[in-house]
Symmetry: C2
Subunit: 597 residues, 2 copies
């Protein structure tokens, strides 16, 4: 069975030295994040994830969820108890406004916690993560009555939340939604239709389930303009605020799927279920974007989380498994063979996982910080700038961290050789679980198109210009430092590729939009590589400063610098390949007639 | 459920126009391969794979194998009947020498057939593929008595074969083998020990199972020099040649694993089982290499096979699934949305699968042809040259085709969006099944080390020099053709990277062997890219000639040229990245102390 220790030292380093939390102490909730508060959160959440969630991961996968004859769904053994503990410890509302019963800490602390929970048990964390997304959506778009009826219960963890978008014939293309909402005399609506792939649509962890549902009000226009959002509870709240009458929404079946077995993926049938409108009629898609954006970062967290735990276990295995001798001569002559970590090809795999996981965490927390600044800064200009960054980075973080998360899980499994293919190792579950993160909340190709088609040109390219400017400053500031200069020089080459690819789109995609679409995925990864390089420069700079000051854990800081170097030498050069592909245009991709496939 | 049609047109094209079979009609067995014989084989094997094997693939995965209380193993419903049909149709001995009851056709036809079978049902094909490897090993290294006792039964398919190498503490490092062989008075040996990960170690498909087992004769030296090979049947052949007394070898348990559920992966316990020595004492590893080399190509076949069927289904889905509109305006305005094949990012995925699958098939069959020439050519020089090529290409084909096979399965699953994650689509099974091919018969990192450490420097680099010379000729011959010249120019850049990387190893790996080991995987893929480019140039040349002559299926040949162009523009440029990584050396990879992982 896999082991897991939360990466506490890395998180402390990122909060203090890369995000520089004290610089943001003026934002609401940030002042509460003194180092001892962070320590207390890390310590309590670490215990919960390592001791409660992790032991349920392999068993939860084997057991899966079960739909009973009455339509109820049973989660695997131990999940109810673990959920009760999660609730009792108050993690659900860690970052929710105290007005709604939350702790009001920065959102980035929820991201930190969700990484730990997703490493230890990704399936478990889907129930809580989606509830947090639903809370954020209702807090922002709900009426006062809706907030009062739902938020305290959800923040408490007594009730959970879901998002209902997909229908059998429509996933990405939400304009095709058919779910019907018929107005009732009392101002509510009766919803009828079928939704599929609904995570946590039915389960036994909470007293009530609050569905946020996209549907079309009778007579609404076709396409996305006709879509509205509704809140549809499993049980209608009674006059006392407790779950009352059963609503006409039920789980028709559970999907058998590749992984994430302990997360119930439901077909949900709405048979005139009563719901109330959230936000304006026809604004459903815009409203759902609050939830989707948070969910996209939440899925990025999953990619990072699986990377981390898979990498930890691959490193442990590589240090213990004896096989062959170092090519330079026996490293452990007293043993029958050397541990496989002596082999350069094994190192290559471990270093690749490490370099992308640590950069991924830095980038994710940096993006989460932008979300906090955008939501909490009293200065409109600061908030707008952070919002630009958040908008630009969200598809990159989702697409890149989930692609890397899966790749790293596959690589970590490879380190185990044949043993990695065996279920009991737990390594193959990481691969199966990580796979879905590349697909849901917008498949990664959709993230790439969102980046290239929307986020890049938005406001005349203001966000990408800001990123390039910051990169230029970071590189310039590193040029005089002996350790940092070669890292900065490598990053400068990556930035050049990013700039050139961006310019190429500007020059070639207006007339031929396929030129952008054919290069979108490559651009997303090119951007991700440069963003990782940026984070490595930030981390290496902080490490260099600590080393120069002679303070802290020397080995930790040295490892940061060595890993930065590996990233710049071995991984960052991929930017040139991505640029070459982008600049080759769409012709070869689009040439073959569709009927020849 | 996935569908499947054997790629008959592509195979016919490769045999006739790329391998140019008529040029080899002087080799034993090749003259029998007239086009109508090929057609008959394709037609019969296609029917069997499409109609018998494919329908058992999803059900076999769901049902898996079961070990009964008496230690026997039951394969999934339908497998016994399918195996009986396979046997009745005489596929097992298609390429075995007629002296041993086979049909004597070229080995490459077995490769063709095994691709079809592995596409339709990879798990089923493990039983037959390993038997064919055991047949080849006994045919080459067995005594006359062993051949007489085992080969007719195995070629007939009445008995199956296995290879027993791995033990719990030793996979890659066979020098650690502990399995003991004690000489008995009658010249046989009593084998005692445990082997793990034995595919088809026990099952209900055949009357008898013939295990080829690596063990250490009592008193033999430590390390690989002390290892010998034994043939150990489940039932000792009786005086009538039929299965007699039960031998002391049994299946202790089956492994629960990620995929390939219908292939029994056994822990095999030997408790003084009677076996006879195959070949010389202490030559076990060398002898097993016959089986391992054939098995490595067999595993490459699996990578190709999953690529093919996953790609077929992704293309079908992309042509039928309606979602969104083409970025250049509605392509099917009469329908609610366009088929997703109109989107450039979906095309990118389909074209990547197509370009690597078709090149992979060409390379695999070309390598199989080298195996045939090496084994059958009466001219020692021709045979030696083909043997050089086979030796050099085998690790490349194994490593690259299985890495690509898995990647392509993942990409094909991605085309399906959320539906690809659902078991019923069958797409996730392809990913789980394909995963093992990167691991077994030598993990792909081991293939890379075999390539760089052994095959490259062998005989003063004679094989790589021959490949580079052939590449040079092919490029030069294409320079005057309007269609081929740009393809050849792209290939020339790839060859330059391959040459430079090869020279870099020569200059830098002698003093520091880690410089070779750290770049081995990159070199294997660099080689694979160039080899794929070579095959694309061959295919494009043949297609151009047919088009110029105005003969054959115009659309087929045009598709070949367009796909070649896609490969050269979008995929081949990765050679530069691989070269950059190789030339960065081992320093950054090896710098971090092992205890910091």
């Amino acid at each position: 069975m896999p082991s897991y220790r939360i990466p506490a030292a890395d998180v402390r380093f990122l909060l203090a030295d890369v995000l520089r939390l004290p610089d943001h102490a003026d934002l609401p909730g940030f002042a509460d994040l003194a180092p001892d508060t962070v320590d207390a959160i890390l310590s309590a959440s670490g215990r919960f994830c390592e001791e409660v969630l992790l032991p349920l991961n392999l068993s939860g996968d084997a057991e899966g969820c079960l739909r009973q004859a009455d339509g109820s769904v049973t989660t695997p053994t131990g999940f109810r108890k673990a959920f009760a503990e999660y609730r009792a410890q108050g993690w659900m509302g860690l970052s929710t406004d105290p007005d709604h019963g939350g702790s009001g800490l920065p959102y980035l602390m929820t991201v930190v916690l969700n990484e730990f929970a997703s490493s230890a048990n990704m399936a478990f964390a889907t129930y809580t993560g989606l509830t947090q997304g639903a809370i954020a959506t209702l807090a922002r778009h709900g009426s006062d009555a809706q907030k009062a009826a739902y938020l305290p219960k959800m923040v408490d963890g007594a009730w959970t939340g879901t998002m209902n978008l997909t229908e059998p014939h429509c996933g990405t293309d939400l304009g095709l939604i058919r779910m019907k909402a018929v107005p009732r005399d009392d101002g509510t609506f009766a919803l009828t239709g079928t939704k599929i792939f609904i995570s946590g649509g039915e389960h036994d962890l909470a007293e009530n389930i609050v569905h946020l549902v996209l549907a079309r009000i009778e007579g609404a226009p076709e396409g996305t303009r006709g879509i509205s959002m509704f809140v549809v509870p499993k049980h209608l709240p009674g006059p006392d605020g407790e779950p009352g009458a059963r609503n006409a929404v039920s789980c028709g079946s559970l999907e058998d799927k590749m992984g994430l077995h302990a997360s119930a993926t439901c077909v949900m049938n709405y048979d005139g279920a009563i719901g109330s409108l959230v936000g304006e009629p026809g604004a459903g898609l815009r409203t759902m974007f609050t939830m989707m954006n948070e969910a996209r970062l939440g899925v990025a967290v999953q990619g990072l989380a699986i990377s981390e735990i898979a990498g930890q276990n691959a490193a442990l295995w590589a240090r213990e498994r004896l096989q062959g001798r170092a090519i330079t001569g026996a490293a452990a002559p007293e043993r029958p063979a050397d541990p496989i970590i002596v082999h350069a090809d094994v190192r290559r795999m471990l270093m690749t996982i490490r370099a992308t996981t640590e950069a991924g965490r830095a980038l994710l927390l940096w993006t989460a910080l932008q979300s906090d600044i955008a939501a909490r800064s009293p200065d409109p200009k600061t908030a707008a700038r952070a919002g630009d960054m958040l908008g630009l980075l969200t598809p990159v973080v989702k697409g890149v961290l989930t692609d890397r998360g899966f790749e790293n899980a596959v690589t970590a499994q490879q380190v185990f050789g044949g043993h990695g293919y065996i279920t009991a190792s737990g390594m193959e579950q990481f691969v199966r679980d990580a796979r879905v993160a590349m697909i849901y909340e917008g498949a990664n190709g959709i993230q790439a198109l969102d980046l290239v088609g929307r986020k890049l040109p938005k406001d005349g390219g203001r966000a990408i210009m800001a990123v390039l400017a910051e990169l230029g400053l970071a590189i310039a500031a590193a040029r005089d430092d002996e350790t940092l200069a070669p890292l900065a020089a490598a990053l400068a080459r990556g930035v050049q590729d990013l700039q050139a690819a961006t310019m190429w789109f500007m020059a070639n995609a207006m007339k031929k939009p396929d030129n952008a679409a054919a290069g979108a995925t490559d651009y997303m990864h090119l951007f991700g590589l440069v963003a990782f390089g940026w984070m490595w420069l930030k981390m290496a700079r902080a490490a260099t400063e600590h080393l120069a000051a002679g303070e802290g854990d020397r080995a930790f800081y040295e490892a940061k610098i060595l890993t930065a170097r590996f990233f710049m030498e071995r991984l960052l050069p991929e930017t040139a390949l991505r640029r070459t592909r982008i600049e080759s245009g769409a012709a070869a991709t689009m040439a073959l007639p569709a009927d020849l496939f």
